[in-house]
């Protein structure tokens, strides 16, 4: 074997190598993409001027479709078939993701633009108790509904998250004869229409046990809806924990329960937080079950165990049904607050999930 020795030159005499990022979009490529986009826009303008087609939303969709089509044609003409296929797939997939985001962006934009008019500082600190049906939107607020929503969703999470995670632990860590049965029931539970969950609590708790309407009753109905989502998501998250970690823990002499509490659950922590978030997302906007359990009211009821309570979805539903514009404006503002509330919660949960334990 011959060994070649590479003489090592004096490092100082070496020119600094130019750094490259082969995957980065070059200026020329940027210009080309901009060109294609420009052509798509011009094409759209021509089509919309020449034909009866009209509307802002339609033109955006048309321009987007035109851009994707032109880009696909362009790459197929310029590149060899393999590379063209690859680029086409990239464009189509990125395009689809963009299309999927359109309705979301549209809803957010719509709610913000409609809701911002009804927003004022008093919206968070006042109720509708002394507000007449024809008062302007600047009178009164949704304090009672915000308090109700926070309490009901909070209580429902307190009930459903531990139960859901325990169910997930049973399904994933203690498989046995009953596993399939339990999983089947959990899956069936996720198919329960929300109005049925409300009806169930209404018949059993509100009427039969004579407990009356309350935030707690609403929370129970919501937790019925939340439980399957949390349980099945959490189960998938626990399954992502590598078996090697469980075995290592057992091999150190840990009992099963301690392996679950000290290794499996902490390892799956951020996944379990996601499970909770999805559960909250499932119930935060529910309206139907609340009509039969919390019922709704125009004044603050801080006690969730007794008496009718409002909530943001109920508030929105009851305002928007009105013919009076000021009431409708309140409803939109309520919807905006609901979205902001859920968004804040998600952000906080994400941050909480990401924080790594320092030494």
């Amino acid at each position: 074997m011959t060994v070649t020795t590479v003489p090592s030159p004096n490092p100082a005499s070496l020119p600094t190598p130019t750094r490259r990022r082969p995957q980065a979009i070059t200026p020329a490529e940027g210009v080309r993409i901009a060109g294609v986009a420009g052509v798509a826009v011009i094409l759209t303008a021509l089509v919309f001027l020449a034909t009866p087609l009209s509307g802002a939303f339609g033109s955006v969709v048309f321009a987007f479709a035109a851009f994707v089509a032109l880009e696909v044609v362009d790459v197929s003409l310029r590149l060899d078939p393999q590379a063209a296929k690859d680029r086409t797939a990239t464009i189509l997939i990125t395009g689809s993701a963009g299309v999927a985001l359109v309705p979301l962006g549209f809803i957010v934009w719509y709610v913000v633009s409609k809701g911002i008019g009804g927003m004022h500082p008093g919206f968070f600190t006042k109720t509708l108790e002394e507000v007449g049906p024809l008062d302007p939107a600047s009178a009164g607020g949704a304090e009672h509904a915000i308090i109700g929503s926070v309490e009901q969703v909070g209580l429902a999470s307190l009930i459903a998250t531990p139960l859901g995670i325990l169910t997930a632990v049973y399904l994933s860590e203690y498989p046995g004869r009953l596993t399939r049965v339990v999983r089947f029931f959990v899956d069936s539970m996720s198919g329960i229409p929300s109005v049925v969950a409300g009806l169930f609590i209404y018949t059993l708790w509100v009427v039969r046990l004579e407990k009356g309407f309350s935030g707690l009753a609403a929370a129970m109905a919501l937790s019925v809806l939340m439980l399957p989502t949390v349980a099945r998501t959490a189960e998938e998250m626990l399954k992502l924990v590598p078996d090697g970690l469980r075995e290592s823990s057992l091999a150190l002499g840990a009992p099963k329960w301690r392996t679950v509490t000290s290794i499996v659950l902490p390892t799956a922590r951020s996944g379990l937080i996601t499970a909770g978030i999805l559960g909250v997302a499932r119930i935060a906007g529910e309206t139907a079950p609340l009509l039969m359990t919390a019922f709704g009211t125009d004044s603050v009821n801080v006690n969730p165990t007794k008496g009718a309570q409002s909530s943001l979805p109920l508030f929105v539903y009851q305002r928007v049904r009105n013919a009076v514009p000021s009431q409708v404006a309140r409803g939109w503002a309520g919807a905006l607050v609901l979205i902001l509330l859920v968004l804040t919660l998600f952000t906080v949960a994400r941050l909480f999930g990401r924080v790594r334990k320092a030494a």
Binding site: P175, P242, G244, L245, E247, S248, S249, L250, A251, L252, G253, A254, P255, R258, T259, S262, I263, P266, T267, R269, R356, K357, A358, A359
Partner: protein
Amino acid sequence: MNMTTTPAPPVSMIDPAVLPTGNGATLEARTVAAWFAEHQILDDISLAMPANSVTAIIGPSGCGKSTFLRVLNRMHELVPKSSLAGEVLLDGADVYGIGVRPAETRRHIGMVFQKPNPFPTMTIRENVLSGLKLAGIKNEGSNDDLVERCLDQAGLWREVKDRLGSAGGALSGGQQQRLCIARALAVSPRVLLMDEPCSALDPTSTLRIEETIRDIVGSVTIVIVTHNMQQAARVSDYTAFFLGDEGRPGTVVEFGPTSELFTAPNDPRTEDYINGRFG
């Protein structure tokens, strides 16, 4: 691999009787058999692994070496529908005896896996100490001393002493494996089972771990599964050759002092295997 021309001399062929007596225990398998459902994997395995020695288990892939290790520390029974037969004696007491808790057995018979798997949510220090918490053991001395001693035994102390607080997963593969060895040592096991501990590592890390094995064997009995003949020859005092043919369960073909097994095997199949003619 040319074992015939240069028979690798075992590093230490010390008579077990004069081995420095430490915490290690003798481990003896008696007529062990094992099944996954109806599929028999091991049959009639009897091996005596002397205290404070290194026993290597070699044999072709799929002959049941890992299964055998897992029978020794009661991990085999964790697989659904698995079963076993025979006895495993730890210093004379059957680990499958009535009233013996599996967790207790596993604490005394530690295990290092093929793939390094430090606990990802824990720091290096916490990883070393994890066994105490997991097994519910009280540490009489100071935790700092224990961490230093175990990491030192595992040959990792100098590399990590300034970053005990960083995540265990932030180490290189070889370092992670040594961290796993330190973790296993922290609960003072009497036997340490190692299932191909170096198969995912580079030659330097492998040598470091072999050094570690020779360093700790004074205080713990070691059973190591390896596919690397030189490694078996370098680190072990005894070697067992396992073989299982298509459809037939694995058995011990030959067991004896490593020097004899590698230089003058009794069975032609052993000779063929260590010379790389099959497997």
